[in-house]
């Protein structure tokens, strides 16, 4: 079965620190990759996505993610976090055909002011 792993369950950073959240998936075929974010008290929303082309994708609020096919990874990065980035982040994978997204377990990020 396809699985998505997010190895960091909780991350605490100070403002201006750099962020990297790991995401690995197990499916060997063609995939589409996503990062979603859930700010406190809000609904989940799309942060960025990769379908094809440049493996480095840029999303909203200064986030980016790099798809490394050989490592089955899609890590999320931000050079300098802000207190407002405090949220839970979910990686998700979709097979090229089909209607199902498989989500990782999520990473709770707390940014200290």
């Amino acid at each position: 079965a396809q699985s998505v792993s997010q190895h960091n369950h909780h991350v605490i950073l100070s403002e201006a620190a750099s962020l990297e959240l790991g995401c690995n998936y197990s499916y060997g075929g063609t995939v589409n990759l996503f990062w979603y974010v859930q700010y406190p008290g809000q609904h989940l929303q799309l942060l960025l996505k990769y379908f094809s082309g440049d493996p480095l994708v840029k999303g909203i609020k200064g986030f980016e993610a790099e798809f490394i096919k050989s490592k089955f990874s899609f890590n999320l990065r931000k050079p300098s976090v802000q207190w407002s980035d405090t949220a839970e982040y979910f990686c998700a994978v979709k097979r090229n055909a089909g209607n199902m997204l498989t989500f990782g377990g999520g990473t709770r990020l707390m940014v200290k002011p």
């Binding site: 997010q6 996503f34 609904h43 379908f51 089909g98 997204l101 989500f103 377990g105």
Partner: protein, 115 residues
């Protein structure tokens, strides 16, 4: 903006009760989904529907059923609630036959506690 509305934000039910969770979307989306969200487990797909009266099992359908009588409405039913169904339930929708664009639009969630 797409609006996905879940009827109840918070519910408390007793073991064995029947529970209905309703979800309505206002953007004429073909696909609708029910997930449950649990700490450390992320989101797990219970059921999804790609058209009226059509449904497909997700990863954890046991103990749940769904109903989609109208395009805009997708209901999740717990026939006999159990304590292990205490969770946050998220509804989502997306346009298109296949998951075009990959972006799911989520509701705010329904937190169910089963005593």
């Amino acid at each position: 903006d797409v609006k996905v509305t879940q009827s109840s934000r918070y519910l408390v039910k007793r073991t064995g009760e029947k529970v209905f969770l309703e979800c309505v979307q206002d953007m004429d989306h073909e696909n609708m989904f029910w997930y449950r969200q649990d700490p450390g487990l992320g989101l797990r797909l219970i059921y999804f529907s790609y058209d009226v009266k059509m449904k497909e099992k997700g990863d954890i359908p046991e103990g749940y059923s769904v109903s989609r009588e109208k395009k805009e409405r997708f209901s999740l039913i717990l026939e006999s609630a159990s304590t292990n169904q205490t969770s946050m339930y998220l509804c989502a929708s997306t346009p298109g036959g296949e998951l075009k664009g990959g972006e799911l639009f989520f509701g705010e969630g329904s937190r169910l506690t089963v005593l």
